[in-house]
Symmetry: C2
Subunit: 151 residues, 2 copies
């Protein structure tokens, strides 16, 4: 399996993912457990809401995006360890049957000041549906190992 280290990442690189279909049943069961609001729970309850129809919880979109990234092409050695995001948006709702994919673009690569064996990459992750509309855009900071400690 390919594993990438800090030295392998360069600004401007783009990494893709597979595709995940968002099933209506998983949308509503996820919402029942974590985000029990009418617009996420059933078509009938969602019809008269701001979403005008059933929409996935943004946290399901985030979770599916994570799965796509873990199985995608980014592949940092030691795993995808996120410190957090500088920006996180859901520009459009996710609907039942949508097919999502993620593209990650490297925006910044920098060695850690305090840890000679690791560094940080800043990545823009764009989750898109089958029409090419962005449904989630994040600017994330990931911890990445160095192949050779800074000396």
């Amino acid at each position: 399996m390919i594993e990438r280290y800090l030295e392998d990442y360069e600004v401007g690189q783009r990494y893709g993912s597979g595709v995940a279909r968002v099933e209506a049943g998983r949308m509503t069961s996820f919402a029942a457990e974590f985000d029990p609001q009418p617009f996420h729970l059933s078509e009938a309850a969602a019809a008269s809401t701001i979403f005008a129809g059933l929409a996935a919880s943004g946290w399901l979109t985030a979770a599916i995006t994570m799965r796509l990234m873990v199985e995608g092409d980014l592949k940092p050695a030691g795993g995808i360890v996120g410190l957090g995001f500088d920006e996180f948006r859901w520009p459009k709702p996710v609907r039942a049957g949508d097919e999502l994919r993620v593209e990650s673009e490297i925006l910044e690569v920098r060695p850690s000041r305090s840890r000679p064996d690791q560094g940080l990459i800043k990545v823009r992750n764009t989750t898109s549906n089958q029409k090419g509309d962005a449904v989630q855009v994040t600017l994330g900071n990931l911890l990445v190992r160095r192949r050779r400690p800074a000396g």
Copy 2:
């Protein structure tokens, strides 16, 4: 049930939540579905990772935080509709058995320029464990209805 409108929110207000216990079994089943990385899947696999033991996927923490907020005291009319976050961090890992709660502080309240019937509130949501350590901190922007449309 209390429902709050844009006119009810003021900078500096704080709203609390109940408590949610994070079960080891739910940590690992969530990870198997959405974030299958060794540090989220089992104690044994996690021992030698950067987390030095099983840690919850950040997306489970985010999803539990959402549930606490939906059932918490913030209660915007029409539901919690997030546009996204200006900042999103996980300062400490969440461990099995942790008991999480959320506090939301209102940082900004502003009417929409384009929609007379709604506005935006900016909220800092701090999810803390039973020791009082922050495990997730977000700066979120929520859509909120106005009680009376701007004239």
